[in-house]
């Protein structure tokens, strides 16, 4: 029955083939429940007196909310409660704040304006789902429609409407400094100059909905001990729990989340929207509340794989070798960030693909538009890049007149090759995959290509070297803000070079990790003497907000020697991966200097700040919750920004 074929002849000496289960049929541990219908999905938990919660959703891509009139809805039969943004205790979050990445940019319920079609502006909780739907239709929202932008490149235009005031340039700010994520390896312009063929092409991928058969939903109910139980189909239970604790300003110890059974996810159930909404409903009514998307909401409001546009430029020699690849990418994050900035970091580093290319440059923009926010879906950040790369490979093979499989084998990475993100390739198998695929497809390849191996030919001095990388006069590998030009081409007027063999200035960003003892002061709420962060700039001008000419959060460049010693202490501060939410003036944190004591403190009621043990001496007092460094501030339920 199985069509799986094992090729244990390949790389046979890399494993001792004593596995007992791999390659043998097995029965899933959960499938008895599936075939008998007894698997308990979230909606299979019955509660007496269950109320149904529905959202009132924006009919506009972009509009200011002048007023919300819920009085008619409140008088509708069966309605128990109508809730709006003012009922959400802390109505601003970003999903990755749980790992200290990005600025809080998304409300659970829109209050000042709506930024995408279908954004929630109010909720109705009623005895039946139909009553909740009818009452939703009776909520009157007065909108003032704003111009919208739906294309990621148009969002970068100077006159584009500002979608999300937390990011006034319509881009995510990497390291609070760069409007794009960058990768530089070697010198692409010099390589293009000597290339025999230069191939430029643009590729685009539309948003893709995960479309699980079970839509996103959650049931929350008051529990004993002043807790709330939440049955959910989330793919990320602790994300959902931490996000709920933060948005509702409630200790996570008062939340009892039960999940693990997901009726199809594919990335679409990580966004933690339905859980805080359902728990809010239970808090407001004191009754069990179900909040579930219907199929229309799943398709319209459920976050898809983001739309991506990629421009690739390859330089090839006559004999088929790719010597340079340049990529400019525009990733449509939608109206809010969620997981897109992280996906782009993956996609940027993936640019060469599984190929050895000695000169690589990429700029990828995380663009904010008035589309549904994008999120995870099956290899997000990588899939569309691979689509673009493989289309480009076929064009390259055509340009040099080569068999496309032989062209891939010729350029494939091999064990020991240095990749553009400065990691050595290990356990590579592209050549073998190409050979097997050619055999399966009866696609003839030359004897020479058939004789190649991933094990040999890689890691030679020229393939393992980190090449000289172009930088500009300030020691940077490119402009910080490229949005105006959107050009990837690095430093045509480059005045400096990062010497070959070093990681260079700007790529030395990742500090040496001390795996267990590293204290991320920002993440656990310590200020380390720095000034508290002021609120992000909000351009609240009514009417048509226009992008400011200069980026407000621009950080003054510090004078830097163009060439830094590989591991010297004089690394410029912008090279540090400053926590994105940190104040621009914050000094690099001497993280490992603090002696970390992991001895748990006795669990106690809210501790006065003076009772904190000496080594941590927080500048801001703890209210309660965090017991040791390294634990997320949100799993304690206390938000401290």
């Amino acid at each position: 029955m199985s069509s799986v074929e094992f090729r244990k002849d390949l790389f046979a000496n890399e494993r001792d083939d004593t596995l007992k289960e791999i390659g043998k049929p097995t029965i899933r541990q959960d499938i008895l429940g599936h075939v008998t219908g007894r698997t308990p999905f979230y909606d299979d938990h019955l509660f007496d007196g269950l109320l149904h919660m529905r959202a009132v959703r924006s009919p506009h891509h972009h509009a200011q909310i002048r007023s919300i009139d819920t009085s008619a809805a409140e008088r509708m039969p069966g309605v128990r409660r109508v809730a709006t943004a003012k009922d959400v205790p802390h109505n601003l979050n970003t999903l990755l704040s749980l790992i200290g990445f990005g600025r809080d940019d998304e409300p659970l319920c829109a209050h000042d304006k709506v930024r995408y079609l279908g954004e929630a502006v109010a909720w109705v909780i009623a005895d039946t789902e139909r009553q909740a739907r009818d009452a939703c239709a009776a909520v009157r929202v007065d909108y003032s429609v704003l111009p919208h932008v739906l294309d990621p490149e148009e969002a970068l235009q100077p006159n584009a409407p500002v979608v999300n005031e937390v990011y006034p340039n319509n881009t995510f700010d990497y390291h609070n400094t760069y409007d794009h994520q960058k990768l530089r390896f070697g010198d692409v312009n010099a390589a293009f100059a000597r290339a025999d063929h230069v191939i430029e092409a643009e590729y685009q991928m539309s948003p893709i909905e995960q479309a699980p058969i079970e839509t996103c939903g959650a049931i929350a109910a008051p529990e004993t001990n002043d807790r709330y139980v939440c049955h959910t189909n989330t793919q990320a239970l602790f994300f959902s729990l931490g996000t709920t604790a933060k948005l509702l300003d409630i200790a996570s110890s008062r939340l009892h989340f039960i999940g693990g059974t997901v009726g199809g996810g594919f990335g679409g159930k990580v966004d933690s929207v339905v859980e805080p909404t359902a728990v809010l409903g239970a808090m407001l009514t004191g009754r069990p509340v179900k909040f579930a998307w219907d199929r229309y909401e799943e398709m319209q409001v459920g976050a898809p794989r983001g739309a991506e546009r990629w421009r690739l430029k390859d330089g090839l020699t006559r004999d088929g070798k790719i010597i340079a690849r340049e990529l400019t990418g525009f990733f449509d994050s939608g109206a809010y960030m969620r997981l897109s900035p992280y996906a782009i970091i993956k996609g940027t580093g993936h640019v060469p693909g599984p190929y050895f290319i000695p000169n690589v440059a990429s700029n990828v923009f995380c663009c904010i538009t008035n589309r549904t926010p994008a999120t995870a879906m099956r290899g997000f950040g990588i899939t569309a890049v691979d689509f673009a790369i493989e289309c480009q490979m076929d064009r390259g093979a055509e340009a040099v007149g080569m068999n496309p499989i032989e062209f891939r084998i010729l350029n494939a990475y091999r064990d020991g090759d240095m990749k553009a993100h400065r990691r050595k390739a290990k356990n590579t198998a592209l050549i073998e995959c190409c050979q097997v695929a050619a055999g399966k497809a009866n696609w003839p390849i030359s004897a020479e290509a058939a004789a190649q191996s991933s094990l040999t030919g890689g890691g030679t001095p020229e393939r393992v070297a980190i090449p000289e990388t172009v930088i500009d006069s300030e020691g940077r590998i490119g402009e910080r803000r490229a949005g105006r030009t959107s050009s990837t081409s690095p430093a045509k007027n480059g005045t400096g070079r990062v010497p070959a063999g070093t990681h260079g200035v700007a790529v030395s960003g990742a500090p040496v990790q001390n795996p267990d003892m590293q204290i991320d002061a920002e993440r656990i709420g310590h200020r380390m003497g720095a000034e508290p962060v002021s609120a992000p700039p909000v351009a609240a001008a009514p009417g048509v907000p226009v992008r400011p000419a200069a980026a407000p959060s621009y950080q003054a460049p510090q004078p830097t020697p163009p060439i830094a010693a590989p591991s010297g202490p004089a690394t410029p501060s912008y090279a540090q991966p400053a926590p994105p939410t940190s104040a621009p003036a914050q000094a690099p944190t001497p993280a490992p200097a603090q002696p970390a004591s992991y001895a748990p403190q006795p669990a106690s009621p809210p501790t006065p700040p003076a009772a904190q043990p000496a080594p941590y001496a927080p500048a801001q007092p703890f209210s309660r919750g965090v017991k040791r460094p390294g634990s997320s501030p949100f799993t304690s339920g206390i938000r401290r920004r």
Binding site: P25, G33, H34, T36
Partner: protein, 160 residues
């Protein structure tokens, strides 16, 4: 709200209850009777996860008014096994990895059950036709089709 008294047979047991006027059969089965095996995926008759057998024929319980099943026989996956003995379809689904998340499985099994009662020895095209009203996002359908064909063969006593 107006209530309608209805009686029907569910998995060989008689059920009598009051249904809300206009209630869908799936809501009566799930919330009223407590048979949670039909799943609601779309509530608009597209996905087939709510499939039940009414007098042996597959129907979408999300689009069936509860009042219309008065006096009829309804079968769900809850009644597919005979005590602890699983139906042949259930065992071939288990062995053939024909379910991943499990949300569509109940509907698939009932669509297949109905097919095998009508056509004991279906060909592949007939199996595909029979489950064409049931969407699955995990498996890619091939293991499901294989499992149904294997079940048909086992029920016929044929070696595979």
């Amino acid at each position: 709200m107006a209530k309608t008294p209805i009686t029907f047979t569910l998995n060989d047991s008689e059920v009598a209850l009051f249904a809300d006027h206009g209630a869908a059969l799936i809501d009566v089965l799930r919330r009223g009777v407590g048979d949670l095996t039909p799943k609601q995926g779309c509530a608009q008759g597209t996905c087939g996860a709510c499939t039940v057998l009414i007098d042996g024929k597959p129907h979408l319980s999300c689009l069936t008014l509860a009042e219309t099943v008065e006096g009829r026989r309804i079968d769900t996956v809850g009644g597919l096994a005979n005590g602890r003995d699983l139906d042949v379809l259930q065992t071939t689904f288990m062995e053939g990895f024909a379910a991943q998340c499990g949300f569509c499985t109940a509907g698939m099994l009932l669509a297949a059950k109905s097919l095998l009662e009508r056509v004991p020895n279906p060909d592949r095209a007939e199996v595909i036709e029979a489950i064409s009203g049931n969407l699955c996002r995990c498996t890619g359908y091939e293991p499901i089709v294989d499992a149904i064909l294997l079940a048909a063969a086992k029920m016929q006593g044929r070696a595979v």
